[in-house]
């Protein structure tokens, strides 16, 4: 439904921390406030833990030639079953001729694919073969040939980050890597992390809070195909380091808040908690760092157990990211938030304005008694 006054606008300039960026905050009492986003660390309290996703964004878009037909296609790597760099099997969305200036929805269909078809990447010795056509003609599972070092070197040369029709300038990797980016496993940028810079990491620490990371393979947010989009988010592998899991436990035990920078952090932490992976397993001799795959959908009715505060980009109603907000905020309040965002003409998408959503945890994951603050 289109709000009566104001509207969301797409942010079209690839600046991660534009001077005028704004932050809408919703506190536990339901009060909505709009602040300059650069002041966000002022909302962090002593004893809190800020958790961010350190995934670097893959140059996931590759021009290729479909060998059997000789036609050009764009491969958009969309998912992988593991975070391992030697795993060269990807699920990918294929697009036909055209480039990012055409809205994904309006792109031509790719040629028909069959298992065994080869896709060659021009300008490199890299090629991939179709292992199977998944449950949609544009959605395939691909295996790349060659050794992992050859693959990564060719991907770095030939791949581009997924481009957006609402950002006219071509995006380079430095536009889409957060300052903490490390393992290249994200298919689209974990863009809530764009608000982080090293001064804010220092500010978090000087406020008596802590900072930790996990790695979550953020997947494609939109394929331009309604049938495929309805399946999003795809399962996403993640890894939580020992130190991060321990800090989550300590923070919860002393009654501090877990502040998640981005929906991917929520998905990983809540998945881990729901599967008992955040428990202290050291008495069992198990190593603390673990990897798993988040396959749950978060939305209204989700019983969150870990994350108290979500910091996220501005998402329009109907998108999978917006759906996740319903795990934090009851619908009537979320409507108020959406109206406030539209009224203030908040900018959506990766390089837009942000929201800070506080919400009481419906079910405490950690039943241990809480110490004094």
């Amino acid at each position: 439904m289109r709000p009566r006054t104001g509207t969301l606008v797409a942010a079209g300039t690839p600046a991660q921390r534009p001077a005028g960026a704004r932050l809408l905050t919703l506190d536990r009492q339901g009060t909505i406030t709009v602040l300059p986003r650069r002041d966000w660390t002022g909302l962090v309290w002593k004893g809190d833990l800020v958790v961010a996703n350190d995934a670097a964004t893959l140059p996931a878009s590759l021009r290729a030639t479909h060998r059997p037909s000789g036609r050009a296609v764009e491969i958009r790597l969309a998912a992988r079953r593991t975070l391992r760099p030697d795993d060269l099997v990807f699920d990918a969305v294929l697009l036909g001729e055209g480039d990012h200036r055409t809205r994904t929805e309006d792109r031509a269909a790719p040629p028909a694919m069959a298992a065994g078809d080869a896709l060659a990447i021009p300008g490199t010795r890299l090629s991939a073969s179709v292992i199977e056509v998944l449950d949609h003609p544009r959605f395939v599972r691909l295996a790349f040939d060659g050794s992992p070092p050859e693959f990564w070197s060719a991907l770095g040369r030939a791949g581009r980050p997924v481009q957006y029709a609402h950002v006219p300038e071509p995006l380079a990797l430095w536009d889409v890597w957060t300052v903490i980016a490390g393992p290249p496993v994200a298919f689209e940028p974990p863009s809530a992390g764009f608000l982080l810079d090293w001064a804010s990491v220092a500010a978090i620490r000087s406020r008596g809070a802590d900072f930790a990371t996990l790695t979550h393979a953020a997947g494609l947010s939109s394929t331009g195909d309604p049938v495929l989009d309805a399946r999003l988010p795809l399962p996403e592998p993640y890894r939580i380091p020992e130190r991060t899991a321990a800090l989550v436990r300590e923070t919860r035990a002393r009654g501090g808040r877990i502040i998640a920078i981005g929906t991917t952090v929520v998905r990983a932490l809540e998945h881990a908690a729901a599967h008992g992976l955040l428990e202290d397993r050291s008495p069992l001799g198990a190593s603390g760092t673990f990897a798993s795959t988040a396959d749950q959908r978060l939305g209204s009715g989700t019983q969150r157990a870990v994350v108290d505060v979500l910091v996220s980009g501005t998402h329009a109603p109907g998108t999978s990211h917006h759906e996740l907000l319903r795990a934090f905020v009851p619908d009537p309040l979320l409507d108020r938030v959406d109206r406030a965002l539209a009224g203030a003409r908040f900018r959506t998408h990766e390089f837009g304005d942000s929201v800070w959503i506080e919400s009481r945890l419906p079910s405490p994951w950690n039943a241990r008694p809480r110490g004094p603050r």
């Binding site: 070092p149 430095w174 490390g182 393992p183 290249p184 090293w198 990491v201 620490r205 130190r243």
Partner: protein, 246 residues
């Protein structure tokens, strides 16, 4: 020397850099090659960078390190280096050591600043100052992650006595190395809280192709081997990493 597998049978006293995840630029010659070899012998996981593909492949084969073909002076190559690092030694999200060793002498034969083209000064700054700045900045996430996990991670910027001494003829190189030394000092102060130490160390004269290009016809027998300097630099790194964070 061919290292196929790191020897882990000697469990008397593990090398302080055993298991460390390291990146070395300029790893196919001189000091950089000696560092790659020494780190591999110590049991570290190593990725290295240089521009000449055949040499990169050779050194990768010899040492078992990951070879990355790239030019540290080229802005467009830096994220590609980080991508390949993240898909190899940085796969778990953390790095323990970055050595910015690759370096340009500036125009050779060496010449007075008055005879140095602006473009040649720019090229020296691009390789010796901007390159290390960009690569360090791009790898700062994994370096800070390494630093958070207990021991400080280290950025070692390879300096030169030309960073301090005003040697006629060494203007482009000396100015770029002086800039790098000061950048290192400021960054070290800023990053201490993140558990990242930034060192700038002069390895001293060494018998390498760079030395021969700078001072052709020197008495090579009188020059120390790069392997000796590599050992001294890694000892300095191990000392810093042994300092427990407050």
């Amino acid at each position: 020397m061919k290292i196929t597998e790191v020897d882990r049978t000697d469990n008397s006293e593990a090398h302080p850099l055993a298991g460390a995840r390291a990146v070395v630029t300029g790893g196919t010659s001189g000091l950089g090659l000696a560092l790659v070899r020494a780190l591999r012998s110590a049991g570290a996981e190593v990725a290295f960078v240089a521009r000449t593909p055949a040499r990169v492949a050779e050194v990768a084969r010899e040492t078992g390190a990951t070879g990355i073909v790239a030019d540290v002076a080229n802005k467009r190559d830096v994220h590609r280096i980080a991508l390949e690092v993240g898909a190899s030694v940085g796969r778990d999200g953390a790095l323990d050591l970055l050595v910015n060793n690759a370096s340009s002498l500036g125009p050779v034969p060496l010449r007075p600043l008055g005879d140095t083209d602006c473009e040649d000064l720019e090229a020296a700054l691009a390789a010796n100052l901007l390159g290390p700045f960009r690569l360090t900045k791009t790898l700062l996430g994994p370096l800070a992650a390494g630093g958070r996990s207990g021991r400080p991670s280290v950025v070692l910027n390879v300096s030169s006595d030309a960073a301090r001494g005003a040697y006629p003829g060494w203007g482009a190189y000396g100015a770029s190395k002086a800039g790098l030394a000061h950048l290192s000092a400021i960054w070290d102060a800023e990053l201490a809280a993140e558990g990242v130490r930034v060192l700038s160390i002069d390895p001293g004269d060494m018998d390498t192709p760079l030395h021969e290009r700078a001072l052709p016809g020197s008495d090579r027998a009188s020059l120390p081997r790069p392997g000796e300097a590599a050992r001294a630099l890694l000892a300095a790194v191990a000392t810093v990493r042994g300092q427990v964070r407050s």
